[in-house]
Symmetry: D2
């Protein structure tokens, strides 16, 4: 039987749920009205949260998952135990592909991503399941090496 | 046994390979030197290709897959049979998460994505395999509906 | 008196206007309903057009100006005489900052950008006026040089 | 004579300088090696900082200015007195167009942006000077209104 808590304690899972849902209140989404909240549990036990931040030029906005993770990275956090994302719909929404890619740079493929629906119910998948055969840091040789390969 | 051609004829698969690889020549990648070429076979039998186009401000660049697909969309193409992506590395690179999301808007989940390595060998996965449990057009209710849900 | 045609002939300006407005028809904008069309006159006399292409994950979309220009670049075009952008509002909309940055990579600072309102009236500014003190290819030393600078 | 401090006290300007430069240490930029630090002085007197966070898929990265501002917004900050951005080059780098657009959503056009070079010298321009004739929240009518306009 699959471990739906992915190693989180009951208290941690409850806190992930509550913080993800509460983070929806920090969303700035006047265009889509689609509030998204995200909470991240760092390896050091701290929590980081964020909401989506939209822009009049839609492609310039930043999703909730990237808001929370870029905060964590810029505060020196490395290593993450779980990420939660909450929306106002049901079934729950998953991180978009761009966010999966952003998370990929910093999280292990087995990090669980909990997706909460409007009633607090959730589905959970690992990053590796959500972004199989991913393009990550190891996929990109340095420019000096690529310059040689492209000329062969 | 899996059908590794996903319904493409031998001639079509050869052309997808050749066009994807040739499209690397159209890449503008002075920063990464990581050339990527992409070819798309449209339902109407036409082909659209593109390369990655980078920018001094890295986040402003556009990957090869999005270059090719945005060309197709802006030329009125709808419905796609296959997408190929070629790089100068081995094993082959996959589309990044942002490109998977961009493709998701317009392609069926069972559309095959052929990923070519520097020697022309390939791996193939469907869009649905590369972006499981995806966030697509059906996941996003209109703003008027979301405004109500977020207040409940 | 300022030259409002920036060296374009009357016929060229008329064609830029007509093509920019017509390109609105190619927009895919189910979320904003904000249609944008763009036309580019290349140095070789050819024209390239595009519309905005949105995505359910708003930040993944591509604006009309980038659609048209990435098409041009991937088709080998270099050197541009003028860019036109048309919307359904009045006064006319300008390119967003992200598009100005994308254009900056490939166009001279004195390239004119014609912005058409819903009635076909326009305002015109050069790229350099729209993106002063810009961050361009010359602003970014190669990684090998930056690695040294950051350690000093 | 222009007021090069834009209303900041000497102490505030010194702190903006120091915090912007210090924020470079938080950058994650293994690809460009181009470290950028950003500090924002909020109307409530608090400071928010951030560095650039790159991604193996270059377009998925987030610049320092957006890192700092999205942090501020997600923490409920509204109203900003000044933004500083520091790099390891000289003359100083300016925010890219995408960042100018992101800032535009939340800052007054007369907010000063201080750009620091590697020696701590700076140039300063207002947001309105860096992004003239900008596309902002007021430029985008709601989808319901746009749907009507596009059919006229």
């Amino acid at each position: 039987m699959a471990d739906l808590t992915h190693g989180l304690s009951t208290a941690e899972l409850t806190e992930l749920t509550n913080r993800s849902i509460a983070a929806k209140e920090t969303a700035y989404c006047p265009y889509s009205k689609f509030r998204v909240g995200c909470a991240i549990l760092c390896n050091d036990g701290t929590w980081i949260t964020g909401g989506n931040v939209e822009n009049a030029s839609y492609p310039v906005g930043i999703c909730a998952e990237r808001t929370a993770l870029v905060k964590a990275i810029s505060e020196g956090k490395r290593g993450f135990r779980a990420l939660g994302v909450a929306t106002d719909v049901k079934p729950p929404s998953s991180p978009c592909g761009m966010c999966r890619q952003f998370i990929r740079e910093f999280a292990d493929l087995n990090m669980p991503i909990f997706m909460y629906d409007i009633d607090g119910g959730y589905e959970v998948m690992t990053l590796g399941q959500l972004l199989p055969m991913s393009f990550g840091p190891d996929s990109l040789p340095p420019p000096s090496e690529m310059a040689k390969l492209s000329k062969e």
